[in-house]
Symmetry: C2
């Protein structure tokens, strides 16, 4: 009889790929090891083999924790006392959690009224200084960069290279979960474009280390209303229901294009309507993701229809955040039922028994 070795967070688990020293104090909430769920209904419908990488099952409910554990670990190693980020919500929630865990002063700059309810709540609860500004994400990032460049406070946006280094662990996990095999296609939402960059780096490193059999094709999907990369122009007033990717001037623009090009993939966009359809279909697989997450699945559906994804392909869709992050969008898409008296016949009738 042997005791199970449980997960110790992505830095400890993939240490040989992480830029830490043997004695580095690791700031972790034991992020990672998220589910890779076979989507039975969608696979049958689309005639592919579709898996969902459910990143909502991280401590703060999004993939951002993978990068934040490393960014905050390195900040502490460096003796920093404060961190700052601009955010559409998930980054701030993660920075707030890891910042509080490490005892750092944490500042988050967010666009007023444009972040999902759950995410705002997280940043506030974890004791960050939360500053909503009148402007969009890109404005928030501009001012954040200025402050970090000129004052003793460390930037933990994805301009911080450790964020990408941590996030690449998700690609390792996908290959490990598939038994040392890469998917044919990795589909992923694109907002600030850090995550597609990180996955591609991860797949390449794992291939080089002979832990996976090949490289996947990377398909990135922006929301139509903030599709700067696809439209090849900065979008000054991005608009989409997928608030987590509502970014008009992605920081990792060129790297994302490189990932798509090198992998013989592409970056495209999906409409809000396509996103909402995919969002609802995902929930019927037992997986509740935030709207932006559904851009990956919406993109897969679009590409299957266009015959750009072949029958039987092994496809992984990255679902970046948990549906609980954004209850308002969920409730706006469904009808809430009215309360009834606890009368047996009445209830049997509603159930259809």
């Amino acid at each position: 009889m042997v005791n199970r070795k449980l997960w110790e967070g992505i830095i400890n688990e993939y240490k040989e790929f992480m830029p830490v020293r043997e004695n580095t104090k690791i700031i972790t909430l034991q992020e990672g090891n998220t589910p890779l769920i076979f989507a039975e209904k969608l696979s049958n419908k689309l005639d592919i083999e579709l898996y969902l990488k459910y990143e909502g099952v991280n401590p703060t409910g999004s993939f951002k924790d993978r990068g934040m554990t490393l960014a905050v670990t390195k900040a502490v190693e460096n003796g920093d006392k404060a961190i700052i980020c601009a955010s559409t919500g998930n980054t701030s929630a993660s920075a707030a959690a890891y910042g509080s865990k490490a005892g750092l002063k944490t500042v988050v700059i967010i666009p007023e009224g444009k972040i999902a309810l759950g995410k705002l709540t997280q940043a506030l609860m974890h004791g960050s200084i939360v500053i909503p500004i009148k402007g969009n994400f890109d404005n928030a990032l501009d001012i954040t960069r200025k402050i970090a460049a000129n004052y003793p406070i460390t930037l933990v946006n994805s301009l911080n290279p450790y964020r990408i280094e941590g996030q690449k662990s998700a690609a390792f996990e996908v290959c490990d979960q598939l038994g040392g095999v890469s998917p044919d296609i990795l589909a992923i939402p694109v907002g600030n474009a850090g995550n597609i960059t990180a996955y591609w780096k991860g797949f390449k490193e794992y291939y080089q280390a002979q832990r996976t059999n090949k490289l996947p094709k990377m398909l990135g999907f922006e929301a139509e209303g903030s599709a700067a990369i696809v439209k090849k122009q900065v979008i000054n007033s991005p608009e989409t229901i997928a608030t987590a990717i509502r970014i008009g001037n992605p920081v990792n623009w060129e790297k994302a294009v490189d990932a798509a090009t090198e992998s013989k993939g592409s970056i495209d966009f999906v409409t809000d309507e396509e996103i909402l359809d995919a969002y609802k279909e995902l929930a019927l697989e037992g997986v509740f993701a935030e709207p932006a997450s559904a851009a990956s699945v919406a993109g897969i559906k679009k590409y299957v229809k266009l015959n750009k994804i072949g029958k039987g392909s092994k496809v992984v869709a990255v679902l970046t955040g948990h549906g609980l992050k954004d209850p308002d969008t969920a409730l706006s898409t469904i009808q809430t039922p009215e309360a009834v008296e606890p009368n047996l016949d009445k209830i049997l009738n509603l159930i259809g028994l």
Copy 2:
């Protein structure tokens, strides 16, 4: 170079302790393997060694997934076509997710207006038939039992014995995460009293299998306004901010008392004020749990003060659900900041730079 073996859900990982056959089709969202986080600030403050079992990091954001994977797996094995539960919210979210994954018709009966926003959203998104009734949880459970007893629909409340069998896996994980060692004390919120029953069963089985060195003392904490077990009477109109444990007539009442007695522990209550204080302190450890979860930590603080927990004790607090389940309670305890113009001096001033 070896690929990591990632987590496959609690039934696969602890199969020798689970009532399934070799060829049972397992319905899983890869629940379990949740973080056990050392609470540095609270440990220092209370002069104990405190760990947080963060059950919010399950697919639907609560510990209920551990029991639901087994209850739904067994329902499918049995050829059942429909499941039903009454719920204060977490059970319904979990039943809805696993029910949709398995393709079962899923019915959830909830007390009107008394379940947290996120949980209602989950049940609806996953396509359940959601029936809010005019009454409290105990009324909802009464009618649910009647329906399950007389119609072809399987009850997945914790009266279903497989729920407890699945939930006991959390005790296994705690021992594994501590390196084959049991904590001195396991502190846990008590609502319907199924979880304390499940942990105690798990600790006993693991001890018998020689995977842990001893048995812990079990400390269960009800909320004062629904403290039926402590007050030794059914409470007809339970009231507490901790909606997940707002239950006036716990189903597993006797088994919970047995767990406390056998382990030389106890069941006590904490006030809503103590719960909210602990809730806020937890967030400063980087861990955002729902209010009911904080009952465990509130109880630990109370018992340290009363010298009922000795200095240096190894204590595990079970945090049953994620804070994102209940954004409204969070926002009611904190002040939301006002938006400012993106003016550098103004923002530097707010940051204190």
